[in-house]
């Protein structure tokens, strides 16, 4: 039988690890990285995990602990994390060409059977190379399926003595391991599945593995069956090598401070549309539907307000100016005076491939048009000389809604003015 080997690579505390590469003072200290706007914890060092601060914790609830344990608090720096992620992924690819980049800090690798006899050594080598070349520690788990690889990675992270790698294939104690894995930690089990399974006394990956096939088929359908087979070592979730274009593109932000004026909101919405349409063009799509939404601050007293407005575009487009014009029209419909707005966003949907636009007598093609050329030129300039070198004037310059990022580190790897300074 043609046996498959899957490995899941997961960077340890990725955002914190990126910060530590360029700031050695953070080593061994409790560190957290906050979400855009400094709202919630999105990455924790092991020291912080041990203190019991959960992922996603809102900052204001933990101010006392931060003072007490002298936790280093950093704003997120996605430019830096993106570049470090690229480096890690490129190294992984050089050591295993069958790679599926799953997220900014996770990737699946797929190996052929013939490498089985030295897979343990090989994943150790991968781990050492990534650590040495980039300074980023990673954990690697290996299994016969993606689901088992994911479980192996969890163990590699948890058990210190494993030094970050674990291979579950061919072990006699697989069932013992699965007994210690809660069902919520199985890949693909959501909260609704979890609730249902617990009601039926399925608590661990082991319990799930030995469920009757027909029972799973009846109650959990195909998704549940796939998990059952995967836990039994039969691969059902294939590698996805090609990045699928997204079906919707959403850009939304919480504002650094509440906004009241229409003008400020207009600038924010225009900026979000600029970002979204850039992403739209990058994946070579056109949008047919544009939605704009605004909401009030749920943590403050006063009227609760949430409104969304949607427009269908008769001519699918990726033209920033046109989308902004339509977006501002929609914003005008939902804007209400006297509300303190905390958040706003835009969603582009009904996306089609730019080559598949249906043409009619009245609707001209976006592809090959002057507007397409203009957009391409703008994208090229922004790519060459830096983000936002050219942007629509309507977006404003002061940006009163701008993210609150008090302690963002420098763009050490992408801006000459911000590279690391070393004392000589």
């Amino acid at each position: 039988m043609n046996k498959r080997i899957f490995a899941l690579v997961d960077c340890d505390n990725f955002y914190v690890s990126c910060e530590r590469v360029f700031n050695p003072k953070l080593k061994g200290k409790p560190v957290v990285v906050l979400s855009n706007n400094d709202g919630c914890v999105i990455s924790r060092s092991n020291e912080v995990k041990e203190l019991g601060i959960p992922m996603g914790a809102p900052m204001f609830k933990y101010e006392d602990m931060i003072k007490k344990y002298k936790i280093e608090v950093l704003s997120s720096n996605f430019t830096l994390y993106g570049d470090m992620s690229r480096r890690v992924m490129e190294i992984l690819k050089s050591m295993c060409p069958d790679i599926e980049i799953y997220s900014i800090d996770e990737a699946f690798l797929s190996f052929d059977y013939f490498t089985l006899h030295n897979i343990d050594d090989y994943i150790k080598k991968i781990r050492e190379k990534v650590l040495k070349w980039t300074g980023i520690p990673i954990s690697i788990g290996v299994g016969e399926t993606k689901s088992l690889a994911k479980i192996a990675t969890k163990l590699a992270k948890k058990r210190k003595e494993l030094n970050g790698t674990f291979n579950i294939i061919g072990r006699s104690d697989v069932d013992e391991i699965l007994k210690k894995i809660e069902i919520r930690d199985i890949w693909g089990i959501g909260s609704r599945f979890e609730e249902f399974l617990k009601k039926n006394e399925v608590y661990t990956a082991y319990d799930y593995k030995y469920l009757p096939f027909d029972w799973v088929k009846k109650h959990l359908k195909t998704v549940g069956l796939r998990i059952l087979l995967e836990l039994n070592g039969i691969p059902c979730i294939e590698m996805e090598f090609i990045e699928k274009p997204r079906k919707t593109i959403c850009t939304s932000r919480s504002f650094g401070k509440d906004l009241e004026d229409f003008k400020d909101l207009k600038e924010a919405i225009s900026t979000f549309i600029t970002i979204s349409s850039e992403k739209l063009r990058k994946q070579k799509s056109l949008a047919k539907i544009l939605s704009v939404f605004v909401m009030s601050n749920p943590f403050k007293e006063g009227e609760r307000y949430y409104k969304m407005s949607t427009v269908y575009l008769e001519k699918p487009t990726a033209n920033t100016s046109e989308l902004i014009e339509r977006g501002v029209e929609e914003l005008r419909k939902i804007y209400k005076k006297g509300i303190l707005y905390k958040k706003a966003g835009v969603v582009l949907s009904g996306l089609i491939d730019e080559n598949e636009q249906q043409l009619s007598f009245f609707i001209s093609s976006y592809k090959g048009s002057k507007e397409e050329n203009l957009m391409k030129t703008i994208d090229l300039i922004n790519k060459k000389i830096g983000r936002d070198s050219i942007f629509p004037g309507i977006n404003g310059i002061e940006k009163p809604y701008k993210m609150r990022q008090l302690k963002r580190s420098k763009n050490y790897t992408t801006r000459w003015e911000e590279i690391l300074i070393v004392k000589s």
Partner: protein, 135 residues
Amino acid sequence: MGRKKKKIKLPLYSSKVSAGFPSPADDFIDKTLDLNDLVIKHPQATFFVRVSGNSMINAGIKDGDILVVDKSLEPVEGKIVIANVEGEFVLKRIRKKNGKLYLFPENSDFNPIEIKEGMECEIWGVVTYVIHKTI
């Protein structure tokens, strides 16, 4: 009147047609030189840093210079390295003397750092090139 000027559309050729003799160099054109090819051997492991201070001046590294640093290389004796000593980045040369390990400056105004047991010292990367502005 109201007569419009008739526009004649001409095709635009993207390749140039030259009238004279073809250049004798045409068959020998190579790609242009890219400085990255020369100074970056391991792109994923290469970082740039800026120097502050003159402790390495005799090695040709001056205040304000930009260094190419390769994290993938082995930090062996004689190499100039970026090291993290007690939470601080320093730029020095690795030296061994009488069985002791040092981070050595290249300027007599500065003192070498002896690496002792229990000290926090980690080599961050090996310096491979110096970019020094001369104008």
